[in-house]
Symmetry: C2
Subunit: 229 residues, 2 copies
């Protein structure tokens, strides 16, 4: 469990690192990275950065989950992505030379390391493997977002919810999906009331079960069929 305070993690032994963009780092690279990062504890619902602010560096998730979102006209959040341990958050804005167009906020208590912009860019410049990994990651996400757009445009809310639950099941892997109904609605792109009604239908169809706010997936294949994947 997470201590309610700053906890120092060493990059050399960090379990999340091997799944990350830094996964290929040799020992020297890792120890260099370790010297340039700081390690921070974040409370639940604490922002990493907000829209319009200027990027100062990147965040490497060691423990906990973070939502990435934009806001529509009336301030309603649209969640674009939910990042899990091992993911680097905020590196896109390192290259665009612009302020953040998205915001990031913790969904749980988190342990997150921070790497300064200059240090990060320096690593990218000097490490071709890291650089290629980043370019691959950027490209893949671009493709993911094209699919996301198509889903939003062409699928019904029911289909999108089924799709979202399948995605979230992977992100939450061992645990159960644990989001407020509002966050889930903002991920699916619908009203909270509509979301709740559909969840009930899914329960009636034995696709899921709810335990308070947590959602247990009973029939992943059924959800995938419903989502049309």
């Amino acid at each position: 469990m997470l201590e309610k305070s700053h906890r120092h993690v060493s990059c050399e032994t960090c379990g999340a690192r091997k799944d990350s963009l830094f996964g290929s780092f040799c020992e020297a690279d890792s120890s260099n990275l370790n010297e340039h990062k700081t390690c921070n504890y974040f409370k639940k619902n604490q922002p990493l950065f907000i829209e319009g602010s200027n990027p100062r560096g990147v965040f490497c998730l060691n423990e906990g989950k973070v939502k990435i979102f934009t806001r529509g006209e009336e301030g309603k959040e649209q969640i674009i992505h939910i990042a899990k341990p091992g993911e680097i958050v905020g590196f896109r804005a390192m290259f665009s030379g612009e302020a953040y167009k998205v915001a990031a906020t913790t969904l749980e208590e988190c342990n997150i390391c921070f790497i300064n912009k200059a240090d990060f860019l320096n690593m990218v410049d000097t490490n071709p493997v890291l650089r290629n990994g980043i370019m691959r990651e950027l490209s893949k996400e671009l493709a993911d977002r094209a699919t996301f757009i198509t889903n939003m445009a062409q699928k019904s809310v029911r289909e999108r919810l089924a799709f979202a639950l399948v995605l979230l099941d992977d992100i939450y892997s061992q645990e159960m999906i644990n989001l407020t109904r509002e966050d889930l609605a903002n991920f699916v792109g619908t009203a909270t009331e509509t979301l709740i009604r559909l969840l009930k239908e899914f329960k009636d169809d034995h696709l899921i079960e709810t335990h308070a706010r947590k959602i247990e997936i009973l029939d992943k294949q059924g959800l995938m069929n419903l989502a049309g994947v």
Copy 2:
């Protein structure tokens, strides 16, 4: 006007190049590029590449426009982007190591140069300015697509159409917007019939005028207000 056949363009003198990712190329770079590219004529509605195929290189638009799209379940197109002269199409898939997740098809007669994958990647490897330009471009598009997703999720069809017309007015700059109603509907993310009805409303409100299929923007600011930008 475009000749109905292959037309050779030299990179050194290409007008579209200076707006492109190759815009910063010095003379030596340009002439190197020129030696590695081929120049091709494309008919209207001719595919550059389709979903699922393997990337062989990148396409540099010299003249004409190209739609980039994915397909939903029933094969319905969702247009993600419309590329204009100066844009490089298909470079995302160069880095992902995967097959194309999107497809590209010409909307008009086009003159398009092709650069082989190996040559392109070699340029990226050896030219830091080009590389940084690409990383900046990838990052910006990622942000654009986040906005796109939010628009799809939160705006009404009317707002999305207004927004789309403003975007298209920039893309078509000097000319009038010239798309089939179906393509426009697939860009906005709606049914063709709905699109036509809304266009009529916009005409009644003196926001636009139609000349056969072409759309003339009369009140861009009015459209922007409607779109909520």
